[in-house]
Symmetry: C2
């Protein structure tokens, strides 16, 4: 894959792909960071550009100097987010090797860790409806790619008899929606660490795909 890519100016994506469990500071431009927070609180259409400018401490025209319009803020945030989780999930799968159960565990862990450590970005997934068609198509294509990656693994496991679900596609969709759901309720200051939430969801997800491995699932 490319070593210098993404809309993010910092080291984020590439380093993340190599060390998929490691999460540093967000490293977003202040305008993007405050746009993210505003969109999370009030939604895209419920957020005014004056609100974002006010949070950042700049004027509205200053905001438009850095970004084309409000839509570009959302599109940049969502593209940054989906590319990061995709890179991390791919790295986790590669590290896990060929065993379907090991790959599944690693992929689910990487996705849930992302949802917890990058909750503010991950929660924006609810705003895809507000993306213009082109931006939306690009985002959905990347999200579908993530789904197909996981589906390939579940189907491989089903072929080997290690996953017993009769509905791999439905099971994968269910697992991904339960991972995405973490972004809706997880709070860093809550009782569970991101790592513990990931561990639990790996086990829940294994149950959802009907895992029958050498050591069972309980």
């Amino acid at each position: 894959m490319s070593t210098q890519s993404s809309t993010q100016p910092d080291e984020g994506t590439t380093a993340a792909a190599r060390h998929w469990r490691v999460y540093g500071p967000l490293g977003l431009h202040p305008i993007l960071l405050h746009a993210m927070e505003a969109f999370d609180e009030h939604g895209y259409h419920g957020t005014s550009v004056r609100d974002i400018a006010g949070r950042v401490g700049v004027t509205v025209p200053a905001l438009y100097y850095h970004y084309e319009n409000k839509q570009a803020l959302l599109a940049t945030l969502l593209e940054t987010s989906i590319k990061d989780v995709l890179d991390r999930c791919r790295a986790a799968a590669e590290e896990a090797g060929d065993d379907p159960a090991a790959r599944f565990r690693a992929m689910v862990e990487s996705i849930v860790l992302y949802m917890a450590h990058r909750q503010g970005l991950a929660f924006l997934d609810t705003e895809i409806r507000s993306l213009e068609p082109g931006n939306r198509a690009r985002y959905v294509a990347l999200r579908d790619y993530l789904e197909h990656m996981l589906l390939d693994t579940v189907e491989a496991g089903a072929a080997q008899g290690v996953f017993t679900t009769p509905f791999p596609a439905d099971a994968v969709r269910a697992v991904l929606v339960m991972c995405q759901g973490v972004a809706n309720w997880y709070r860093p200051e809550g009782p569970l660490t991101a790592e513990e939430v990931a561990r639990r969801h790996v086990l829940l997800g294994l149950g959802t795909v009907g895992y029958r491995g050498p050591a069972g699932n309980g």
Copy 2:
């Protein structure tokens, strides 16, 4: 419970509680119906009262004659929705009796049937952020009640050893989010009937809670 209740003027809620698998026409006031469609397409803040009025074919003041304001439309829709699924789920659980696995199956089936048959209402769940504090608190309380109903059943099953998940609360949240997810992708004209989607999610949900019943789960 009350026999004459809810914000819905028609037979909806009460009859639905008795026949939780039966879905008739929505029976919503035309203004509510078109507000629902607009909110589903563009979100609450992305929908203007003029858009709603235009869809219905009435003037804006006519709309304000029937409903206090835009907020009341969303609040009424969401309250109607959560009360209906709650009534149906309760009826399904009562019909299923005391066995935790039977109750779990019935409750998940009833919830997924609701998500598929009442997709337009169920999808509005993404708009709770746009509810004013009081309306939001009432909605969340009812949704929490649904979660506690399901958790009681899963904990009862865990106590009997029929559900083996070590995390009943996380498992219930995961199951509910995968049910809610049905409202995001289900299309009546698609390949699967609501009943088939419900059947599959019952099995997926049983896997998620680690069901180890007399007949297994595969």
